[in-house]
């Protein structure tokens, strides 16, 4: 219980520190929302009026305080770039998209990497393993945006498996492809990690015990090794979720998916700090809570960490 309270406390602290840092950075970097909105056609007078309207002239601390006060009551303010749209509305429409996208990517990663890794372990150091290993290396060496472009060209334009840009509603079929572009390098990473984890477990003493009990190679893998090997993979997958979120920024851009990532990039460029604040806080909360979740999961799968008998 105390551990949970402590974790919760540090979660809140982390989110606060990050929101403050983002705020500060945003006030330091050049450019502001008024300029971004008005562009080169506005007179200095109009820019000043807009800055006034968007309350950009107040000191950072006051603006942060105002923002924080609102945020604590669940009011994240209005978007600066889209007049009359609240941050809540924006996030409400974008969040589900990114969640589904991330969900599909995660499923792809988990569903594909476990069998592939086991396959590689079964054929370790033989041809199928080597081919998959090299393939994995190549997949990890392709820059994310380029992989997205390649998938668009191949599946979108050549095979016509989906229509690039024709995203409407929560179309799983459409989201599959950006999810694939996010998942591919992560699958390669996960397979590599799982493989080395399984190999490490295979050299453990308990494997010898199981074999002494008469378990066959497959039974050893299935009944003994996999569960132990998956424990460190939990942490790894939690990290991967963080990276999926980062990856969705690029994928959403390349595939024209109206998700959080695209909104984040747009909002940074437009210096729309209420939106950026909200998204950053969301991402931070997700990442930090994942950390928390991993702790709990560990307790679940690893009896050594359970308290008491």
């Amino acid at each position: 219980m105390q551990a949970i309270v402590k974790k919760l406390f540090s979660l809140i602290l982390t989110v606060l520190v990050i929101s403050f840092l983002t705020f500060i950075i945003f006030s330091i970097i050049p450019g502001n929302a008024a300029l971004a909105k008005l562009g080169v056609d506005a007179s200095p007078e109009q820019i000043a009026a807009m800055e006034e309207k968007l309350q950009l002239n107040d000191p950072v601390i006051i603006r942060y305080g105002r923002w924080l006060f609102g945020a604590l009551r669940g009011d994240f303010g209005e978007s600066l770039q889209y007049s009359g749209v609240t941050v809540g509305e924006l996030l409400g429409s974008r969040l589900p998209v990114t969640m589904v996208l991330a969900g599909i990517s995660f499923l792809l990663i988990v569903l594909l990497s476990v069998p592939v890794a086991l396959f590689c372990v079964k054929f370790r150091d033989r041809l199928p393993d080597r081919i998959l290993t090299v393939l994995g290396q190549v997949m990890m060496a392709v820059p994310a945006f380029f992989l997205g472009i390649l998938i668009t060209y191949i599946f979108g334009l050549l095979l016509r498996a989906f229509r690039p840009g024709a995203y409407e509603g929560l179309s799983l079929r459409y989201l599959f492809f950006p999810a694939l572009s996010i998942a591919i390098p992560k699958i390669a990473m996960t397979v590599r990690f799982l493989k080395s984890s399984v190999r490490g477990e295979l050299s453990q003493d308990y494997v010898r015990t199981a074999r002494a009990h008469g378990a066959s190679e497959d039974q050893v893998l299935k009944n003994h090794v996999l569960r132990n090997a998956l424990i460190p993979v939990i942490t790894f997958l939690a990290l991967v979720i963080g990276e999926i979120l980062a990856g969705s920024i690029v994928a959403e851009q390349v595939f024209s998916v109206p998700g959080l990532g695209r909104l984040l990039i747009t909002s940074i460029s437009a210096r729309d700090y209420p939106v950026v604040q909200a998204i950053v806080m969301y991402i931070t909360t997700v990442v930090v809570s994942l950390d928390f979740l991993v702790d709990l999961l560990y307790r679940l799968v690893d009896p050594r960490l359970r308290r008491g008998g």
Binding site: I29, A144, F145, I249
Partner: protein, 278 residues
């Protein structure tokens, strides 16, 4: 019994581990190619030529020319040097600072360790793209600033890795032994503990190198990477995307170079890991 690195031994060593051999061949090939590319290229790297725009690979231009009539081979030779340089310095900055932080906090522990690691976690949970973006907006664009921003981004993961290594060795008997001989903590960390973490650090550096190459490419996608007309592999790939259908060679050659370079570094690190028995 004595192991000295005679030529014959190195040969045997390489024969035993094909990963190292292939990795070494790849890495040295690109290292030499890019080194040459800094001093001599078949054509001037940034020279445009309206009379030879978008030519397919030929004897004159082995990798073809781009939409400004620049020789792709020359740009790949020179650009891979820039890419390697960016990646190396990035890893050096992240590696050295991260290692120092991780080693000190790991060895001494306590409240400072707690605070720094908390900060570290915060940085790690911050979306890296966002951080890079903000850092570049803050520092301004340019190759040096890209390297700085990426280097800073790399610090936390190094710090975390080195810290856990140091903690692993901190309570080993040989470190205790050094302590009870009155050796100063800094010397214990630097001379007694860190050499033992070298394989982990090298591996992390190789992975970091690869990530840096990819990160530089992503930065180019954002327009924040190495500034044109200086070529970098990531930037070339980015510029090539409009021409994928018409002139695929803009993308293919830098793409293959990136892949093989990363493959080489990855093989090398895996090979070393295997040989060291880790």
């Amino acid at each position: 019994m004595k192991k000295s690195w005679t030529f014959a031994r190195i040969r045997e060593f390489l024969r035993l581990n094909p990963k190292i051999l292939i990795g070494l061949i790849l890495v040295s090939f690109f290292a030499v190619m890019s080194l040459i590319g800094q001093f001599w290229t078949p054509y001037i790297v940034t020279r445009m030529d309206a009379s030879s725009v978008s030519e397919a690979p030929s004897l004159l231009h082995w990798m073809g020319t781009d939409n400004f009539g620049r020789d792709v081979l020359s740009r790949v030779m020179n650009g891979s040097g820039i890419t390697i340089l960016v990646a190396l310095i990035t890893v050096l900055i992240g590696g050295i600072i991260g290692t120092m932080i991780g080693a000190l906090t790991g060895y001494f522990g306590g409240i400072v360790d707690e605070i720094i690691m908390r900060l570290n976690d915060i940085l790690l949970s911050f979306p890296s793209v966002l951080l890079a973006l903000l850092l570049i907006s803050f520092l301004g664009p340019g190759t040096i600033n890209v390297v700085l921003a990426l280097g800073i981004l790399f610090i936390p993961s190094f710090a975390r890795m080195v810290r856990s290594e140091v903690i692993r060795y901190r309570d080993r008997d040989f470190v205790r032994n050094a302590r009870l001989q009155g050796i100063r903590p800094l010397r214990i960390i630097l001379i007694h503990i860190l050499p033992n973490a070298r394989i982990s650090i090298l591996t992390a550096a190789a992975i970091g190198f690869n990530n840096a190459v990819l990160a530089e490419a992503s930065m180019s996608y954002l327009g924040l990477g190495v500034q044109p007309p200086t070529p970098s592999l990531g930037r070339m790939l980015f510029e090539a995307q409009s021409f994928l259908l018409n002139c695929p060679w803009y993308a293919i050659f830098p793409g293959i170079t990136i892949i093989l370079m990363i493959l080489g570094a990855a093989l090398l690190s895996e090979g070393f890991k295997e040989v060291s028995g880790a």
